[in-house]
């Protein structure tokens, strides 16, 4: 995206974005026994798409594969830097009894995360029966993860990112020249959770507000996004 277009887009998104992330936690630090609590890092659920001139998004498999590699690297580096005890998830064989449950936990996390965003972060939209408590869970199925990797908590990360196609960039330019008609570009959004593997409760949640910044096709930019996503994660 051209520098000028990015500037316009940044202004347009300013009201929406505010600060880059917003986090919520139920604990500031993970309870420690004799050993440091171990975090199971789930494979990031990430998808990169191209935003066409017509406004539709088309998933780009090559970008997505690259971004997944970058995000795994960036998460690993971040956790090493903050000296967290962690282990990376290894998927079981497709015919393993728990394979289907583990496969469902990733999309369930994304849907729970979207519900947290929709019904917790905006006070006027909170569900009154929750009485302002941060009470969200993936349920007892997560105990399969604890047994799978001898871990206490699981870190789930979900990211969606899109980038303007050349035709979209041309359209933005023409629209800007024709009197500053706003035509949005690609948007990066994400969320992540730390889940207690004994109960399924989400003990820490962070959301990357939609922003027209970041480029997860590149490792360095992915490191910056990861720093936002894992900002103030308890360990």
């Amino acid at each position: 995206m051209c520098r000028w277009c990015r500037l316009v887009a940044a202004f347009l998104l300013a009201g929406l974005a505010g600060c880059a992330t917003q986090s919520y936690r139920t604990i500031d630090a993970l309870p420690r026994g004799a050993a440091a609590p171990r975090i199971l890092v789930m494979p990031p659920d990430i998808e990169l798409s191209e935003l066409t001139a017509g406004g539709s998004v088309e998933m780009n498999a090559e970008w997505t594969r690259a971004a997944e590699r970058h995000l795994k690297t960036a998460i690993r580096e971040h956790l090493q830097r903050i000296q967290a005890s962690f282990v990376e998830y290894r998927a079981p064989a497709d015919d393993a009894p728990e394979a289907e449950i583990l496969d469902q936990l990733q999309p369930l996390h994304a849907t729970v995360g979207q519900s947290i965003l929709a019904f917790h972060f905006e006070p006027q939209k909170r569900l009154p029966s929750k009485k302002d408590k941060f009470d969200w869970s993936l349920g007892p199925a997560v105990t399969h993860l604890a047994g799978h990797a001898d871990a206490d908590y699981a870190l789930f990360v979900w990211v969606r990112d899109s980038y303007s196609s050349p035709a979209r960039v041309a359209l933005q330019f023409v629209a800007a020249m024709a009197g500053g008609i706003p035509v949005g570009g690609g948007v990066q959004t994400g969320l992540c959770s730390l889940v207690d593997l004994k109960t399924g409760q989400v003990v820490w949640f962070n959301a990357l507000k939609p922003r027209e910044e970041g480029d997860m096709r590149e490792l360095e930019a992915t490191r910056r996004t990861t720093a936002f996503l894992l900002d103030r994660m308890p360990k």
């Binding site: 449950i101 469902q104 936990l105 999309p107 369930l108 994304a110 849907t111 729970v112 979207q114 519900s115 929709a118 019904f119 006027q124 939209k125 569900l127 009154p128 029966s129 969200w136 869970s137 993936l138 349920g139 007892p140 199925a141 399924g200």
Partner: protein
């Protein structure tokens, strides 16, 4: 396409409506009946439907379609013909599909098919129903069945529905939740709500 857009706009508008608390106890549905709930729920109306949830509609939801009249759809937004632009009709255009409508002489099997077709349209995913059997709704002979689908978000969901046709109108209560957790967590609560339904005027 116009119909789909209007359905999406309706659901989007519903998404902006905040939920209100339904405290545990008796809940009245004007002109239709009442239920007893053992727990608090969150309520908001969508179109002609009352919807309840605990964690958000994508995690679990209980829906009440009460008093659907002969020839009507389960939700107004599913009525393709009435939502079709009159200007297009004037130019001789017709909708590219027909609405799934309730008819008072439908068999229970046909009502189940009406339900799955309507839900498939709402969820944009194929909904499959099974286990149709006789059941009671508010003291009237009715039916129940289970259903399942995988949403656009790739999350598996399960649900059950209980219904009856009373005085030529369809009354249908159903509950749906994520198969991995939310469905089972509050299924017993939802069953108690459905079992407690009393038609208006029968207190």
């Amino acid at each position: 396409m116009i119909r789909l857009v209007s359905l999406l706009l309706l659901l989007l508008a519903a998404g902006c409506t905040p939920y209100r608390l339904i405290p545990a106890g008796k809940v009245e549905f004007t002109d239709h009946g009442s239920v007893e709930t053992p727990i608090d729920w969150n309520w908001r109306p969508i179109d002609t439907v009352h919807t309840w949830t605990l964690d958000g509609p994508n995690l679990q939801e209980m829906l009440f379609h009460l008093g659907i009249e002969d020839g009507k759809t389960l939700m107004n937004a599913l009525d393709v013909e009435s939502g079709f632009n009159p200007l297009l009709v004037w130019f001789g255009k017709v909708p590219d599909e027909v609405s799934f409508r309730f008819h008072k002489r439908m068999t229970e099997h046909e009502i189940m098919d009406l339900f799955t077709a309507s839900m498939s349209k709402i969820t944009e995913s194929p909904v499959v129903a099974s286990g149709l059997m006789p059941a009671d709704l508010g003291g009237h002979q009715g039916f129940r069945f289970d259903y399942a689908f995988v949403g656009k978000d790739e999350v598996r969901r399960r649900g059950f529905a209980v219904g009856a046709v009373v005085k030529d109108k369809l009354y249908l209560i159903h509950y749906v939740g994520t198969a991995l957790y939310h469905y089972d967590r509050n299924r017993a609560d939802a069953e108690r709500v459905a079992a407690s339904f009393v038609f208006a005027g029968k207190d």
